[in-house]
Symmetry: C2
Subunit: 95 residues, 2 copies
C-alpha cells in the first residue's frame, strides 16, 4: 500500500475524532505510542512489537491528516532515494 | 511509493550505519525526531514541519529495518481498512 493510501485510510477511519482532539492531543498520543514501542523493543514478543510499529505510523498519519500534510510527499521530498546531506546512496556522510 | 518501498530505500541508504548504531541508539534518534516535530508544530513554517514528518517516518523505517520488521505488513495487519477495536469504517468506538 502506498504511504498516501495508508494516510487516506486513516483519514476515513479517524479524521472526525482526530480533528476534534486537535493537533496537541494527537501529538501527545503519538508520543505515548512511541514510548510504548520503546517498551516493546525491550521485550521478546515480535507480534506485540509489530503492533506498536503499526500504532506509531498510524498516529503519525493521523497527525499529518489534521495538519493537512501529505506524508508521502514530505518523505520523498526529503529522502529522494539519496541521503539529503551527502546526496549519496548509500549514505556516505563522514560524521 | 509503497510503505515497504520506502522502508527498502531507507535500508539501501542507511542500513550499515543503523545496524552499527543499534536498536537503542536508533530508537533514541526516533524520540529526538518526534520531539523536533512537536516543536515545529508550534511554528508557522509548513516546509520545516513537512521535513520533521519526513524524519519521523524515516527513523521509524530505520528502526523497523534493524528489528527485521516489515512496517507495511505490520500497519495493515493492525489497520486493515477498519478500526481494530470496533471493526468499523469510519471508527464508531464510543469511548
Amino acid at each position: 500500500m502506498e504511504i498516501h493510501e495508508f494516510q487516506e485510510m486513516m483519514k476515513r477511519l479517524y479524521f472526525k475524532r482526530d480533528s476534534e482532539r486537535g493537533v496537541n492531543g494527537t501529538f501527545n498520543w503519538l508520543v505515548d505510542e512511541v514510548a510504548e514501542l520503546g517498551e516493546e523493543l525491550k521485550g521478546t514478543d515480535p507480534l506485540a512489537t509489530e503492533k506498536e510499529f503499526a500504532d506509531v505510523i498510524a498516529w503519525l498519519a493521523s497527525l499529518a491528516n489534521i495538519m493537512g500534510i501529505d506524508l508521502e510527499k514530505a518523505a520523498l521530498a526529503k529522502y529522494p532515494s539519496k541521503c539529503p546531506k551527502c546526496q549519496s546512496s548509500p549514505c556516505a556522510c563522514t560524521f
